[in-house]
Amino acid sequence: MTIKRSFRWLGNVGLELIVPAALIAAWWIASLHSTDIYYPPLKEIVETLHSFWFFAHFGSDAVPTLVHLGIGWAIAVVVGVVVGTVLGLSELAAEVVKPLLEFVRSVPIVALLPIGLLILGIGPTFQVTVIAFGAVWPVLLNTMDGVGSVDPILVDLGRSFRIPHRLRLLKITLPAAMPNIVTGMRTSVSIAVSIVIFSELMGATSGIGYQILLAQDTFAVAEVWAGVILLGLLGYLLNVLFRGLEHILLRQHRNMGDLQR
């Protein structure tokens, strides 16, 4: 990286930080002497965030939320990629199943939570299951599209050189479908975050959502706000982590793009 480019990069980061920093400063100053019970001073919220979440309740509530999120999302990705690949490889299966998939996926997952709660009861199984169920669709449908739309020349390549099916799948089809798969994974992360919190608001004995609900019931407004801010921070952190994962998964694809530019 040249010096000129590093300066530009620093400048860009600076620009990105200006607006959030200004907003936070404005909030801080405007709320400094607030006596409104619903809008406590930001100072108080930050203090609560520190005392409550870092790290008194982090292990007991934030960690379970993140663990459920991670397991549920991982299940969604594995199931989505496997089923999506099978359906993507068979045009007939895809044709038969697609209307059903589109229907199931367009049912708002939130509407299915009461049923899930009835069947599975309060507990981690409920959380993980509903996360996996809600987050699987974008991965599955995108994988199906990606696998189904692999360049016909690559299909010919695999066939004419008699490359075994397993190798074709691992070395040709899945890498070719990877940009689609990653797009699906990205969408499913944000869905999974929404579902984990919502499911905790409905039925849980710990978790960030559970603590927010508890704080609301006890009129601990600063704690509610602190929980929301924590979620924002975690969401941002997950996004950064996902970008790292994407960076690894799409290494070669990115290089191709660089060349074409």
Partner: protein, 278 residues
């Protein structure tokens, strides 16, 4: 003694029969009422020959090649490879695709691209590597083995595709307009490279092209196809000798004569169609 004679006969027979033979091949896509793309193609490719197939644009050249490669099956008639009817891609054939940029895998190094087809056969890791290195050396890309396809020029990418086909060690190479999208100089280089590897590996080559100069320059014989539905218009022996040279061969009067003959056949074929639409 008898067994030896038998073996000898068998070898003889094998040498006399064509490596690849198309017998009454027709092809239509879809319903039996759909128009014919190929109409009763009879065509023999003898072992060790370089056969150029040329035809007007819109003729079913690629369809014909895909039938030969066992990627699609003919609607009627049969494709026979070395005495055996082709029902799927035969192991003795390797394809060089027209669109090199799409036929190489961008997520693999050049060497891995060349090695991939070898992984289907029971070849050891070291052997695979050797064959890939040999193939890449034959096309002059020994230095580029660890680079990626998108780091190479179009001409180099097509050389990788040729190396991949060579490392597969087929008896015949099928090339589908392999030099259609490179510049003229690269194209001439690739043509000569093809002639060189053909000598080096003693390969049978079938080249499909729309370029008449290329067909005549490279081929031992040129098969001229008609417009649609496609059939074989004529087989022309190219008696320009085994050694070809971009300058002397292409400026010889014999070359000019053969080129004119092929061109006349193709133009004659196009004329009635144009009259009909006029």
């Amino acid at each position: 003694m008898t067994t030896v004679t038998k073996t000898h006969d068998a070898t003889e027979e094998r040498h006399n029969r064509p490596l690849l033979s198309l017998q009454g091949v027709t092809k239509r896509y879809g319903s039996p009422a759909a128009p014919l793309v190929l109409e009763a193609i009879d065509l023999d490719v003898a072992r060790g020959r370089f056969v150029s197939i040329v035809g007007p644009s819109g003729a079913g050249k690629t369809t014909l090649l895909r039938c030969m490669a066992g990627l699609i099956s003919p609607s009627s008639g049969s494709v026979i490879m070395d005495g055996v009817e082709v029902t799927g891609p035969p192991s003795a054939l390797a394809l060089v695709f027209q669109d090199y940029s799409r036929s190489l895998l961008p997520w693999m190094s050049i060497r891995k691209n060349v090695e991939l087809p070898l992984r289907s056969q029971s070849i050891g890791k070291a052997d695979r590597r050797d064959r890939a290195v040999e193939g890449l050396a034959a096309v002059g890309l020994s230095e580029a083995t660890d680079r990626y396809p998108w780091q190479l020029s179009g001409g180099m990418q097509q050389r990788v595709a040729i190396a991949r086909a060579l490392a597969y060690r087929p008896e015949a190479l099928l090339m589908d307009e392999p030099f259609a999208s490179v510049d003229a100089q690269t194209r001439a280089d690739l043509e000569d490279l093809t002639l060189r590897v053909r000598e080096q590996f003693d390969m049978t080559i079938v080249l499909v092209t729309h370029d008449i100069d290329e067909a005549v320059y490279l081929g031992d014989e040129v098969i001229v196809l008609s417009g649609s539905p496609t059939c074989v218009r004529k087989r022309i022996e190219i008696d320009l000798g085994r050694e070809r040279d971009q300058l002397t061969t292409k400026s010889s009067s014999r070359f000019t004569h053969l080129r004119a003959e092929v061109l006349a056949l193709i133009q004659r074929d196009r004329a009635p169609a144009q009259d009909a639409t006029a």
